[in-house]
Symmetry: C2
Subunit: 285 residues, 2 copies
Amino acid sequence: MTSHLWFHEVGQHHFGIQIRVRRTLCHVQSPYQEIMLLETEGMGRMMILDGCVMLTERDEFLYHEMLAHPAVCSHPDPKRVLVIGGGDGGTVRELLRYPEIESIDLVELDEQVVRLSQEFLPEISAGLTDPRVTMHFRDGVVFLQERTNTYDIIFIDSTDPVGPAAGLIAQEFFANCKRALRGQGIAVMQSESPFVHAKEIKQIHHNLKPVFPNPQLYLSPMLSYPSGWWSFTMVSEKFDARRDFVEERCHRVSKQLEYYNPAIHQSAFTLPNFVQRMLNEPQNA
Amino acid sequence: MTSHLWFHEVGQHHFGIQIRVRRTLCHVQSPYQEIMLLETEGMGRMMILDGCVMLTERDEFLYHEMLAHPAVCSHPDPKRVLVIGGGDGGTVRELLRYPEIESIDLVELDEQVVRLSQEFLPEISAGLTDPRVTMHFRDGVVFLQERTNTYDIIFIDSTDPVGPAAGLIAQEFFANCKRALRGQGIAVMQSESPFVHAKEIKQIHHNLKPVFPNPQLYLSPMLSYPSGWWSFTMVSEKFDARRDFVEERCHRVSKQLEYYNPAIHQSAFTLPNFVQRMLNEPQNA
């Protein structure tokens, strides 16, 4: 084949990634967003929502391992968990590696994301039919308002905090997370790139702090996301990711993994100078 | 302005970065390579050699801090150092932060890289005229053959190990590094991306091990290089980056820096599972 098809993601930053594409598998408009599945050269299959890469088969292990495992390995007894977003099933796949976890509620606004993942990304989405998983096709913000004292860990596996996902970084949403947790559990969220989303990270931490005074940012490479480097933020009234680290559990699960291990758990929370300074700046600096 | 000019770097991996460009500052063919300097939108000025991004003003701190500081902060008494390549001056700028360092030899094959950096990247190259610095416009491979028992640390600040730089990853070159070091000092080199250059990393470690049995790989994000994540390799017959870490020196220099600090020194050497497995595989796996 001599034709060259390229996907480009640029954003507002005059900087972007480009991935060579073999063919389009699916391109639809759901009630909520534009969904595109592409087969790439070298990165496997790729899901794009509203023009933003959500995952590629080649590097999704980074995002899903680093969203799921640090929180599970910072909680003494994680039995009941909630995933908001994450309709591709990657986070659920990681959580199912733990026999300790008895039930997983997945709340995905857009049922089509789940159905298309099941059709085109079977290795990522296979866990969604596991008997421990219950799927709810609803708005995560509303779903959470109805829960009190229910979950040990809440995973916020959202798209960028604009449009449909903007409510997932509001202070009110974080207060609802706190109420929905039992035993002063843990919430963890993807929190954008420290290189290109300083404004969004500061907004998230500004909204978190009245509810959870000590948010813990951690970092990971992320090949197919803008800048190639990503942040997550873990919060809890009780548990500290380093002090309460359950090394035996981490050691056990990491044998199945590509990225995460006990040393990575500790080092991911190490912040470069410019990130420390960013978090200490006033919100609008 | 409504015209859109873009620089694309793709490589052989069907995956690349794109950076929006305001204007071309300089585009010449030297005796050794094609040199291009562009003024970008959002990334500052950018230097490109033979189609590969060498640096942007926005993120060069990552590469230069992480090539220079971990080795300096792992040596008890770094007085005399050598930089091979690095004609832009960024590594020298970082080394000049240490009053302990008494002399720096810079060996750059292509004098035009130095001259164009001095013209277009004055903040990066300013240190090249410091009295502690001696510039040699020569082939680093040949230069090193003539040195014995001379340097405390050797920095190999090369382009990708193909074409003019291929000799910088040969086993013979590493043996010459060992001979040129005094007091069983340290050599450190950029060693490509763990995501897209597994073959090159394994080749480098394969060639290193007969000379330096315990190479230490470390990692850093690198916005404008392929995959956004980069590796370096430090070697020494005597010093270990973690055991011999000079925390006071690191703490002092890190106040001037954007990325590197004592916790980063330790965590950068933490390797994800897939990188550990890559380094344990046979060279041609």
